[in-house]
Symmetry: C2
Subunit: 365 residues, 2 copies
């Protein structure tokens, strides 16, 4: 085996993947399990690829405890295409949908839905710079809403729901779970639809996982383009057309890695440990580092924080990079710094960040 360099990868997405996954993909690149071809070279209708996609689905169902009456889809187009698709599929003509806006991503989801029909904003945290979650009492839902949409974890603003908003009986809860999907256990039965771009915890960019309660498929309107039609996509087992085979294969390897590690409870413990370490470093810095989100809303995945000046933040990013700590620049829309601590990020990398933060403060504070 050749030697290779690996960095501490805090990218917000696409982001770090488990090293054993990459090693297996590397070993199987030219010859997948004696087939004499790469997974990239296989027919999506071959029995080998069918085993790959079916195993990925079965492992996902096991990890999340997905009930029987839910369908799983591996789609293309990213979470951004889902912003439009969910509105096109689940909001009948004339109906309105409720949106909870807690950060940049739920705001973008709202914007897409507004183009295509009626929406109502139930909560908007923008006036407070997206630093907090709504209180239950602030959420007055429309009992006739086609659905309620929220974003479980705001990747840019670092606010993460601790439990699902309680919606009126019969109104499906629709959730963008892109950036904390598979980071912790979830009670799928509380949701009508969950979607997540894979490129944070689940796999590489190019595949989006959608989990939908079967009865909602009856809402799909006539004359939908097939590639936007949840009913066609769900009933074909994501094989209506050529799926993103290699991205699904890598996702399957990540799911096996998660199972071997002990599943989502074990993963959650590790994720808590990593994020607590970094939040402690922020809280104990005496204001040198300032977290963006209010403590009770803090995300275990994405930690945006600021320093006293942009110059200092730039220097932080630059020196961190020299120390092989990569991807710490905040999102271009908000600036500052951000550490993303996804599943595959080793505890040792979180520790390296904390040590770097302390050292940097000592040298420049």
């Amino acid at each position: 085996m050749s030697t290779y360099k690996r960095v501490h990868n805090f990218n917000a997405g696409p982001s770090i993947l488990p090293e054993p996954v990459l090693l297996q993909a590397q070993a199987e690149m030219l010859d997948y399990q004696g087939t004499g071809m790469s997974v990239m070279e296989m027919s999506h209708r071959s029995k080998e690829f069918e085993a790959i996609i079916q195993t990925a689905e079965a492992d996902l169902r096991e990890l999340l405890g997905i009930p029987q009456n839910y369908k799983v889809m591996f789609l293309q187009g990213g979470a951004s295409l889902q912003f439009a698709m969910l509105a096109m599929n689940l909001r009948p003509a004339g109906a309105s949908a409720d949106y909870i806006v807690t950060g940049a991503w739920s705001r973008t989801a709202l914007k897409e839905a507004q183009k295509l029909g009626t929406t109502r904003v139930v909560f908007n945290g923008e006036g407070e710079n997206f630093t907090r979650l709504p209180e239950p009492a602030e959420l007055q839902f429309d009992p006739n809403a086609a659905y309620v949409h929220f974003c479980h974890n705001e990747t840019i603003h670092g606010v993460e729901f601790k439990s699902e908003p309680v919606v009126p009986e019969g109104v499906p809860l629709v959730c963008d779970m892109s950036s904390d999907f598979l980071s912790q256990p979830v009670d799928v039965s509380k949701y009508g639809l969950i979607y997540a771009g894979a490129q944070k915890n689940a796999g590489p960019a190019g595949v989006t996982i959608v989990i939908i309660r079967e009865d909602l498929l009856a809402r799909v309107p006539e004359k939908m383009p097939v590639m936007l039609d949840y009913k066609v996509l769900a009933e074909s087992g994501s094989l209506h057309n050529t799926p993103p085979c290699y991205a699904i294969y890598i996702t399957g390897l990540v799911l096996k890695w998660l199972k071997n590690l002990g599943g989502l409870n074990a993963m959650y413990e590790i994720n808590r440990e990593k994020s607590e370490m970094v939040y402690r470093a922020i809280d104990e810095s005496g204001g040198y580092y300032r977290g963006h989100a209010r403590p009770e809303a803090r995300s275990i995945m994405n930690i945006p924080f600021r320093m006293a000046s942009e110059e200092l933040e730039d220097l932080f990013v630059k020196e961190a990079k020299k120390a092989d700590l990569i991807g710490l620049k905040g999102h271009r829309s908000v600036g500052g710094l951000r550490a993303s601590l996804y599943n595959a990020l080793p505890v040792a990398s979180a520790r390296a960040l904390v040590e770097f933060m302390k050292d940097f403060q000592q040298r420049h504070g």
Copy 2:
């Protein structure tokens, strides 16, 4: 280096990739050029990934001689999503589009466009079982058509255009080039829009290449979902949201391989050689093997053929597989046999097929 087995891969798509491409992807899997991460783990906004996507675009422009006034996009959703997107973007409300139907894929493209608006079928080869191309005199276009759509190579029926249909002045020609894209030189300036799922000649499944003449972007209607909006996608350089990064990277490696090989003229010579070998084996079999397409319509990429009985065809597939000749079963919608001879298929594999065909005939004929 470990040893690995490789088969003769005649899959219709996803399909064989050049071995040097897979070897390079394997070598770079854990550490792309000293970055300490896989391409799958990189931010799509990093300078490393920007170099990957920009180089892929530049190489594609060079190979195809794409004029300056065309935009290139790397999209998701497959050619199947383009069937709908092109109609949504390029056919104004109330306008009609002309379709040439020469096989299963152009028929499917038509079906999607019919759902969303008005179409006119200019030619339909279905009555003749999609064995031929239209004669120029058969093509009476609507001079006010929003566009004329055709499929350059019908992957299932194996008929391939030898030159572009001549359309009325000012009517853009729109082409599904999925299965012979990059197999031969093309005069892009004759087209308004070209699209191709990468998973035949260009790369792995999960990325679709769209080339559009800039002036057509003015047709995009208001209130399009962003992920279906050619204007947004073209102007963002395919980076409006997270693109299918790894599929684009592999496509970039394939484009470099094509350039090293001498570009599309050189590739075309090799493709002609391979397909002529197989057609000769069919023609010299005395009717034991029967090609589907009429000789003048024959594809250099996909060669569907039949034998006297389904039993014999099944035996052919089974014995071929034992001899490491993979992917020779015809498409499930038409049955029979099909050899796909994409760019990456070595001449030696075409030769192995021809020898197997002769040997099989001798043993069972």
